[in-house]
C-alpha cells in the first residue's frame, strides 16, 4: 500500500487498559499494522468506541502502546516526546481553546513553545486567523466566538506551528453540516497547499470520502478491516461503490 518510506509506522501495536482487579483488561487496539506515507491524507474511519482515538493518541505520543512499536519520522513519539516539539500538531474533537486567552493568543500558543519571538509570533497568528476568515476577531475571547469560529481558531493554532504532521480527531463532528463542509474543504486545501501529512479520525463515511486520499476502516478492537486508496480522479460512481463497501464492513 505504501510506496514511499512511511513517515508514520505502527507495527503490531496493541493497547489495553487494565480494569479492576480480576477483571480482564479492555483491549482497545489489537496488533495493528499501519503505515502512512509523507504527504498522505489518511482518513481513519470506524464506529464509536472502536479505538480510533487510542491510535490517534499513540501516534501523538500522548499514550504508550502496551506492545508493538509506533514510530513517527523514525522516532518513538512517546519516549522521544520533546524531540517532536513543532513537528506534530493536533486538532481535537472540541476546540480546546484556553478560555483566558484571546483568539490570537490561543493561536500563538504552539509558537510560544517553539520560542518564536513575540512580534513574529503575533504576525504568524494574525496571518492564520485571517486565512481562516477570522479577521476582526483576533482579540475576542473564546466565549465570544461561535462553535465554528472556535474550531477555526483551533485549526489556525495547529497550522501556525508549521508542523509536518497534522493529527485531527473528529474536529468537525460538533458543527452543523454546512459549517463542517466549508471547514473540511478549507482544511484539505491547506493540507495539500502546505504539503502536510495528516491523519484524520472520523466516524462519518461522507467525511472520510470528502477528505481522505486513503481510507482505513477499523473494526473493533482496532484493527484494519479494509484499506482503500482514493485519488482525485476517483469517480462519483466509484465513490458510491466504496461507500457501500464501507457500510457493509461497518455493519458486519
Amino acid at each position: 500500500m505504501i510506496a514511499a518510506t512511511p513517515i508514520i509506522h505502527l507495527a503490531q501495536v496493541s493497547k489495553s487498559f487494565s480494569k479492576k482487579r480480576a477483571a480482564p483488561a479492555y483491549v482497545a487496539v489489537d496488533r495493528l499494522d499501519l503505515e502512512v506515507a509523507p504527504g498522505q491524507l489518511l482518513a481513519l474511519l470506524g464506529k464509536t468506541g472502536c479505538g480510533k482515538s487510542t491510535i490517534f493518541n499513540m501516534i501523538a505520543g500522548l499514550t504508550e502502546p502496551t506492545s508493538g512499536t509506533v514510530t513517527v519520522d523514525g522516532r518513538n513519539p512517546f519516549s522521544d516526546f520533546d524531540s517532536f516539539r513543532g513537528k506534530i500538531a493536533i486538532v481535537f474533537q472540541n476546540d480546546r481553546l484556553l478560555p483566558w486567552r484571546t483568539a490570537v493568543q490561543n493561536v500563538e500558543l504552539g509558537l510560544e513553545m517553539l520560542d518564536v519571538p513575540a512580534g513574529q509570533r503575533k504576525e504568524t497568528a494574525m496571518h492564520w486567523l485571517a486565512r481562516l476568515g477570522l479577521r476582526g476577531h483576533e482579540n475576542d475571547h473564546p466565549h465570544a466566538l461561535s462553535g465554528g469560529m472556535r474550531q477555526r481558531v483551533s485549526i489556525a493554532r495547529a497550522f501556525a506551528t508549521d508542523a509536518n504532521i497534522l493529527l485531527c480527531d473528529e474536529p468537525f463532528s460538533a458543527l452543523d453540516e454546512m459549517t463542517a463542509r466549508a471547514l473540511r474543504a478549507e482544511f484539505v486545501r491547506l493540507v495539500k497547499e502546505n504539503g502536510k501529512t495528516a491523519v484524520f479520525v472520523t466516524h462519518s463515511i461522507n467525511e472520510a470520502l470528502d477528505i481522505g486520499d486513503r481510507i482505513v476502516v477499523l473494526k473493533r478492537p482496532a484493527n484494519i478491516a479494509v484499506d482503500l486508496p482514493l485519488t482525485a480522479a476517483t469517480e462519483a460512481a466509484e465513490k458510491e461503490a466504496i461507500r457501500h463497501q464501507i457500510q457493509s464492513v461497518l455493519a458486519a
Partner: protein, 269 residues
C-alpha cells in the same frame, strides 16, 4: 422616546440600582451601630462605650505613628505568615498532585494538623522558639498551611484534562506548562484560598500576639483588657477589620481584572 431620553432613563435606573445595593449593604451595619449607641446610653462606658469615643480612638491610632506601627506589624505578620504557608502549601500540593504516594503520605498529616487548635500551636511555638517573630510566623504558617495545600491540590486536580492534553500536545517545557496552563487555570482558586485564609489568619494572629508578642494589635488588645477600656478594644479590633476589608477589596479587584475573560450569563444563581 428619543435616544438621549432613553440613555438618561437607563443611567437613572442604573444609579437607582446602585443606590439600592449600597443601602442594603450599609443597612445591617447601621442597625447594629444604632443598637450599640442606644445601649451606650444605659450602660457604663467599660461595657458599651459611645461609638463617637470608639471612632475617636480609631482616629488616634491612625494618626499616631507609635500606635499605627503596631497595626502595620500585625499586618506584616499576617502577610508573611500567609505568604510562607502559600509557598510551602503550593509546593506540597504540586508534589501531591504529581505523586499518589506523596499524596497518600501527606494527606493524613495535613488532616491531623487541621485538627490541632490554633492555641495549641501557640503553646508549641512558645516552647520550641525563642524569638517573638519566629513564634508568630510558625503559628501563622502551621494554622493556614493545610487549608492552602488542600485548596491548591483541589485546584490542580480539577484542571481540565482536555486543556492539559492540548497544551501537552505542543510539548511544553515544565516552566512553560506552568506559565501557560497551570497557573492561569488554578489562579481563581488561589485567590479564593487567599480570601478564606486571610480571615482565618487575622483571627489567629491576634491569639498569637496576645500570648507571645510585645507589640501588634493582639498585644494592644491585651493592654485594653487590663484597664477595662472597651472603646480601645473595639478601636484596635476595627483596625484589623479595616485591613481585612481592604485586602479583600484588593483581591476582588485583582479577580475582576484577571478574570474579565469569563462569560457572564444574564441569568445567575
Amino acid at each position: 422616546m428619543t435616544v438621549p431620553q432613553a440613555e438618561s432613563s437607563l443611567t437613572a435606573g442604573w444609579s437607582a440600582g446602585l443606590g439600592r445595593r449600597g443601602l442594603f449593604y450599609v443597612l445591617p451595619f447601621a442597625v447594629v451601630a444604632g443598637l450599640w449607641q442606644f445601649a451606650s446610653l444605659f450602660f457604663p462606658p467599660f461595657l458599651f462605650p459611645s461609638l463617637v469615643d470608639v471612632f475617636k480612638r480609631c482616629f488616634e491610632i491612625f494618626v499616631s505613628w507609635s500606635q499605627f506601627s503596631d497595626v502595620l506589624a500585625t499586618v506584616g505578620r499576617i502577610l508573611a505568615g500567609l505568604a510562607g504557608a502559600f509557598i510551602v502549601g503550593a509546593t506540597l500540593a504540586v508534589m501531591m498532585a504529581r505523586s499518589r504516594a506523596v499524596n497518600d503520605f501527606l494527606s493524613p498529616i495535613l488532616t491531623l494538623f487541621q485538627g490541632i487548635p490554633a492555641l495549641s500551636w501557640v503553646v508549641f511555638a512558645i516552647i520550641w522558639f525563642h524569638g517573638i517573630e519566629p513564634r508568630i510566623f510558625f503559628i501563622m504558617v502551621m494554622t493556614t498551611l493545610p487549608a492552602f495545600t488542600f485548596q491548591v491540590l483541589s485546584a490542580l486536580q480539577a484542571m481540565s484534562r482536555d486543556l492539559m492534553e492540548m497544551v501537552m500536545s505542543f510539548r511544553p517545557t515544565r516552566a512553560k506548562l506552568f506559565r501557560t496552563m497551570i497557573i492561569p487555570a488554578i489562579l481563581p482558586d488561589i485567590l479564593t484560598a487567599w480570601k478564606v485564609n486571610l480571615g482565618n489568619a487575622s483571627r489567629v494572629v491576634v491569639v498569637a500576639e496576645l500570648v507571645g508578642a510585645t507589640g501588634g494589635v493582639g498585644y494592644e488588645l491585651l493592654q485594653q483588657q487590663q484597664v477595662f477600656d472597651m472603646a480601645g478594644a473595639l478601636a484596635w479590633t476595627l483596625q484589623l477589620v479595616f485591613f481585612v476589608l481592604i485586602a479583600q477589596a484588593v483581591l476582588t479587584l485583582i479577580e475582576n481584572i484577571a478574570f474579565r475573560y469569563r462569560a457572564v450569563s444574564e441569568r445567575s444563581l
